[in-house]
Amino acid sequence: MGRRLLITVLQMLITVFVASLVLFALIRLAPGDPAKLLIGRTMEIAWDAAAYETTLNELREEMGLNGSVFSQYVSWIGSLLQLDLGTSFYTDRSVAAEIGERLPSTLLLAGTALIIQTVIGLLVGILSAVHSGTWFDTVVRLLCVGLASVPGFVIGLVLLLVLAVQMGVYEISSQAALSRLWLPALTMGLLGAPQVVRVVRANLLSELGQVYIQSALSRGLGSTRAVWHAMRNVLLPTITLMGLSFTSYISGAVVIESVFAWPGLGEYALNGILHKDYPALQGYALVMVLSVVVIHLMVEALYVWLDPRMMRRKKEAAHE
């Protein structure tokens, strides 16, 4: 066990290291000069070209952009080892503090949406598997297809129009307050539910078709209990999916966050991209890689906890 743990941790570290290298390079490959963006673009008065060049060079020096990409990377890793994520180009604040401010609201939204999505997905998925081939199943499929093909902003804005403007039961502000959580969480949950429905329905149907369930049914096992038994095996792929959804939610549901003015990490990353804020983007990407690796581990642990016997057989699937 200790050896396994060591190997896992080692793998994690290598992943994060390689990822950080790739991220660092890619962020710098993207077009645009952060120094130029800081000096300002249009809507202002044009500079004298010579004065502009001087200021630009000073600024680039100050921002540490004049060295080679490799030396920039080394100095970034250096400060990283002292647990320093650097200072944002745009706001001049500590990246760690900025991410720290936004991470809780992102986690809150992601967690709630995940619960809503899973509850709806499980219920509807089970029902449509049990009633497969009925009108209910067909309606669910149509709804799933609909939800999977309508842009998130349409649903978000319509909900805001109805609930905030017409009924006045929802407040539009930039605060990540609990009273403002339900609407973005519900929207995200609804948009994410179809994939859970799909997974639960398909796996449950497949389990219900298995020989052992069929024989149990023929021996007189109640159908509710049969579903219950089959669910044990459906849970594993569902957990896999939850892990995936959670990853994509915390990396930032940009559309939902922006429509509901929810101050999360998606907006942070987007601003980082638009302002070419290298330290912010690097910090964000690093935190994301770490989270993905940790979520991955948690999913694995959950598998073991749910079914220790399955550990050996299902360990592979747990990697998902």
């Binding site: 077009p31 645009g32 130029k36 963006l37 800081l38 000096i39 300002g40 673009r41 249009t42 809507m43 202002e44 008065i45 044009a46 500079w47 004298d48 070209a49 010579a50 004065a51 200021t55 706001t91 001049d92 604040r93 709806i120 219920l123 509807v124 029902l127 049990v130 209910f136 309606v139 709804l143 609909g146 939800l147 309508v150 349409v154 649903i155 909900l159 805001l160 129009l161 109805v162 905030a164 403007v165 017409q166 006045g168 407040e171 539009i172 502000s173 605060q175 519900l186 929207t187 609804l190 539910a193 109640g222 159908s223 509710t224 922006s258 429509v259 003015a261 101050p263 907006e267 601003n271």
Partner: protein, 528 residues
């Protein structure tokens, strides 16, 4: 199968999902019925609120006025002030300054308001102003164009002396830009408590890029405002901002989408301020390209632009045509229709014929076996503008292409020289010489196309030497018209900034610089 047990949660879920799904159809009724159903919210506001909430695309990211754009937000929200300010007509008025006087061609003396003081109660003396401007010069990367030719010194406690490197500079105009915000240089600006500015509102709480709260500054030197508190809130999505003002959650919503105009006009609860800003949407042409070195080709492009149609298609009618660059500045409004007095496709075609670009059988203009093509780059909200221009130039037989993307793509193309044309909108408010030389002198930072014209350079030289206001004005107009004829750039129209204001708020002033003139002391709530 135990169906009854299963049916009820199924129904609940169905309703839930349907509620979410119904996004598809009922929108039509929704948006149309939005106006009448809005009454309940305005009624809850009838008890005049004490807090003014302003929803903006972006708010300050830091408290220190030398950080990028922070000073602009601090001025807009009434927290910070400059020595001078442009009024709604574009005239420069003293704010923290009491008066300004040009002692000689290169020296100004500025007297400060005798009672002006910072939030902390510290007196605003000449030393403090010099310290503030020098701090900004050192730390604010965007202030250079405004003060690079100025040297500041304190003559006595209330008099500031400004020496200029060039003769006849308009110092008050330069000191009206938000970058020159006067702040206490001894304060540290690392927290709300450590800020020290002069404005009528003082910051009480701050969450970067989220929310800034302000309350009346009890030490304010001028007439105090009536609204007790102001909240500046960042809501980056434009449609959400619109919904926030419609729902009554905010009272002023900045930077409304032009596409929302028709809906907002129909609303009972809001009024609109749609003053075109003093900047010009301009197509910059790359004069290093052989085809654009021919002035006739450039003129043809300018004549074949139907500005009225552009304004309808790309700006929902919320602007006016501008045929010369400087004329979006209120002071040069007389030149709005100069040179390209009308949309003239025939004349454009004739010019291209003369230049050797003749129509072939398929309706494309060819010369030496090459089609006349132009690739126009756009960014931000200008996609529709690019698309309409593309359509208009196509009518002339030009192979027009639009590439819409992030600003960085334009920047990259500019560095490599691999571009035909792109759209930008620089400010046209400022000293004419600074503005025009920034755009058209060979060393100008905004002279992207490499325009280098002997007559323009000579006129600019005369402009920099002109000693009286009238001749400067006349020369600026002459440069402006001459450049329009040479057409290194094509001026289209000023960008409009649209602000939605709740009807229960009174005293909002339309201003051509709405991004720095949001709050004034006369704002007050009224019951509708």
């Amino acid at each position: 199968m135990n169906r009854k047990k299963i049916i009820w949660p199924m129904l609940v879920l169905l309703i839930l999902i349907l509620a979410g799904c119904s996004g598809n159809q009922p929108v039509t009724e929704g948006s149309e019925s939005a106006a009448p159903t809005n009454e309940p919210t305005s009624q809850t506001d009838s008890k005049a609120p004490e807090e003014l909430i302003i929803a903006d695309q972006e708010i300050a990211a830091a408290l220190d006025p030398v950080q990028p754009l922070t000073s602009s937000y601090l001025v807009a929200i009434g927290a910070g002030e400059t020595l001078f300010k442009a009024d709604a007509e574009g005239k420069i008025q003293p704010i923290l300054a009491d008066s300004a006087e040009a002692v000689d061609a290169a020296t100004w003396e500025i007297r400060l308001k005798p009672n002006a003081q910072f939030w902390s109660g510290k007196k605003l003396d000449a030393e403090a102003v010099v310290a503030s401007l020098e701090r900004s010069r050192e730390l604010d990367k965007q202030i250079m164009p405004y003060i690079q030719d100025l040297t500041f010194s304190a003559i006595d406690e209330s008099t500031l002396q400004v020496k200029t490197a060039r003769a006849n500079m308009d110092v008050p105009l330069n000191l009206s830009s938000y970058q020159t915000l006067i702040h206490n240089a001894e304060a540290s600006y690392d927290s709300v408590e450590h800020m020290d500015l002069t404005g009528m509102y003082a910051v009480t709480a701050f969450e970067p890029q989220k929310r800034m709260e302000l309350a009346i500054n009890e030490n304010y030197w001028g007439p105090k405002p009536t609204i007790a508190r102001v909240v500046h809130e960042q809501i980056s999505d434009e449609q959400t901002r619109m919904l926030s003002v419609l729902s009554g959650n905010s009272h002023i919503a900045q930077k409304m989408p032009v596409s929302a105009i028709s809906q907002l006009q129909a609303e009972e609860a809001v009024t609109l301020s749609t003053t075109p800003a003093s900047n010009t949407q301009t197509v910059y042409l790359n004069l290093n390209r052989l085809k654009f070195q021919d002035v006739k080709v450039r003129q043809a492009l300018a004549w074949s632009v139907n500005r009225e149609e552009l304004i309808v298609q790309a700006a929902e009618g919320q602007s006016f045509p501008v045929t010369t660059w400087l004329s979006s500045n209120p002071a040069f409004a007389e030149a709005r229709n100069a040179v390209y007095t009308r949309y003239d496709l025939d004349r454009a075609g004739q010019l291209l014929d003369e230049a050797g670009w003749v129509l072939d059988g398929s309706g494309v203009r060819m010369k030496d076996g090459e089609p006349l093509s132009i690739k126009l780059m756009t960014w931000g909200g200008d996609r529709a503008l690019g698309e309409t221009l593309q359509y208009q130039w196509t009518q002339l037989g030009i192979q027009a292409e639009v590439q819409h993307g992030d600003y960085s793509l334009i920047e990259t193309a500019r560095e490599s020289g691999e571009w035909d044309a792109f759209i930008e909108a620089w400010s046209t408010f400022g000293e004419p010489f600074t503005l025009l030389s920034g755009q058209y002198a060979p060393t100008g930072g905004g002279n992207y196309g490499g325009f280098d014209d002997a007559k323009t350079n000579e006129l600019l030289q005369q402009l920099s030497e002109a000693s009286d206001e009238a001749s400067r004005h006349a020369l600026a107009l002459e440069v402006n018209a001459h450049v329009a004829e040479q057409a290194p750039v094509i001026s289209l129209y000023p960008r409009s900034q649209i602000t939605a204001i709740s009807r229960n708020l009174e005293g909002f002033v339309d201003h051509f610089r709405p991004f720095e003139n949001l709050v004034n002391e006369n704002l007050k709530f009224v019951s509708p």
